[in-house]
Amino acid sequence: MDEILTMFNGATLLLILLGSIVGIVFGAIPGLNATMAVALCLPFTYGMDSVNGVSLLLALYLGGISGGLISAVLLRIPGTPGSLATVWDGGKMAENGEPGRALGIGITYSFIGNIFGILCMALIAPQLANFASRFGPCEYFALIFFALTLISSLSEGDMVKALISGCAGLIVSMVGVAPMDNARRFTFDIPDLNGGFALISMMIGFFAITEVLDSVKDKQVKGYQKVKFAMRGLGFTLREFIDQLGNMFRAAFVGLGIGILPGIGATAANILAYVTCKSTSKHPERFGTGSIDGIIASETSNNACCGGTLIPLIALGIPGDAVTAIVLGGLMIHGIVPGPEMFVTNGALINDMIIACIIASILIFALQFFAIHFFVKMLYLPKSILLSVVACLCIVGAYANNNRIFDIYAVLLFGALGFAFRRLKIPTAPFMLAFILENYCETYLRRGLATYGSIDQFFTRPISAAFIIVGVVSMLYRIYKNYKKNRGNLAV
């Protein structure tokens, strides 16, 4: 209690509020993200005391991940890669005339995800971190392999096309310098290709550019539909909340689990939780149609991942992603070295961090919730103006991410590819999942092989073997089910 009272001084609260607002704005604008928000504000924390500095950084981080859902729902362009899967159901629900409800659900479950992650961080950080530290390259590879086998469940009709799309995603992601031996692949002596394609270029191309091109086409064919604000309470009923408990916990655990494994991050957590929830759901057909299930899976997981990534940071001193690496820098500037000793030497600061995260989560929830009407009003703007400005912002965002002109050329390439995929009815989700995971998959496979000298270890280590077996069996089962369905259709 004393901790909370100490925390509740005006300056800290104000910084958390400021951090939450700036974080939400960075999260909501496609192209800007939580990492940039935290990196840009880091220098301001140098002059602050450690509690204030860390509180600001954490509020920025949580705000940045939460804000992504706003544009994912309203514009069908994820504001941050971590809310990529929100587009599939949140965007669809908004398109079906319920943007307020989609935002309400997203905001509430973001909050739940945040609190879940933070509570796990507060209560079982050392145990979870110890579990994560048992993950070697074999376990990492097996986990990513398992995730890749879920591609087959992302098909919106034809599984073969989904798998082809996944293969294409893997190959496109292989462009650039390879892991381990740094060999150049498919670079055709173009220096810009050495770094490969940026995730942000792929995301903006696939979502923003495709959205612009699609709405131009739709306008000519159908004409725009008027948006109406439809939402009561938080956007869902108590009955729906109870029905969705299983889905919510699955998403939260996947988010947390990916979060505690250093090096993977919110984007993978988000898309993985979505596919896991879809493939374990009693109603997988609802996913992608603008259902509450999909929004919950996506938004609970990316925020649960935030708490997760802070766990190895605090307990082991290992940053899980770029944002936590900057937070680590922020802590070290103040002379704090995270790691197992931190619980003894700086126990009070850990408590402060947890309280700051909880306050930030509540503020982010309140700020977003009360601004829903304002957000939805954005859709009353003529689509010609709104989407043109958004396209411009997206291009700037893609450029600013690495200060590379090449990245905006890549946006165009992915935009054209995304549009072609839609016209040819090839699902884009498997492409994105594969694109995001390829680098991890290959890195850990080859690191494992180089470390152990043979492939045996991948099958003899229990965690690794379990993931590989479950992945292969579930994929074969889905292929068999699909084959049976297709045969039935052909017979009819």
Binding site: K161, C167, K383, I395, A400, L412
Partner: protein
């Protein structure tokens, strides 16, 4: 042949060619021997192989569908199909033209981004894009003025935010006084 089947045939042929191209290009990947490692060409070749296999399956499957659905198709009233197709074509034509115009506009924007500068290229892009996407068939002087104002304000505001707050200068191009 139905539209869906035509799509699937195109998909299978395109990815078949892509898969073969990847395998050929993988031959140029340098092989460096690291203990136990499979090398950088292994995964691309494997994935491209799977892609070729899947493309062949899709091709075969689509051909089977076409064969099975042909007798049915012949029974259908060809006249109705023809009318629907012309309607779709007429509706789709305006859409395709606008999509093409938007894409060209985006390409021009990206090409001009550095040499002409962020502010000028964004203003040109925004005004043109709003023109392409507008719902009204007639563009009045008032409307054009509104688009110009929005475009200028957006471009300048974004530039200032990036320059002043993020300390990240965007390309100035022609407006750069140093050049």
């Amino acid at each position: 042949m139905q539209i869906d089947q035509r799509r699937d045939l195109i998909t299978s042929i395109v990815f078949l060619i892509f898969g073969i191209a990847v395998i050929i290009a993988s031959g140029n990947i340098p092989i460096k021997n690291v203990n136990g490692d499979v090398g950088s060409a292994f995964l691309p070749e494997m994935v491209a192989g799977i892609m070729i296999f899947l493309s062949i399956i899709l091709f075969a499957k689509t051909c089977m569908h076409i064969k099975k659905s042909k007798p049915l198709e012949e029974k259908n009233n060809a006249k109705i199909r023809a009318t629907v197709e012309t309607n779709n074509k007429q509706k789709g034509f305006a859409g395709n033209k606008a999509v093409f115009a938007s894409f060209i506009n985006l390409c021009v924007y990206v090409v001009l981004f550095k040499p002409v500068g962020f502010i000028l290229s964004s203003i040109i892009f925004l005004v043109l894009q709003m023109g392409i996407m507008t719902e009204d068939s007639k563009i009045t002087a008032r409307k054009l003025a509104i688009w110009c104002v929005i475009s200028v304000v957006t471009a300048v505001l974004v530039y200032l935010i990036f320059y002043e707050i993020f300390s990240m200068p965007l390309p100035m191009g022609l407006l750069d006084s140093d050049e």
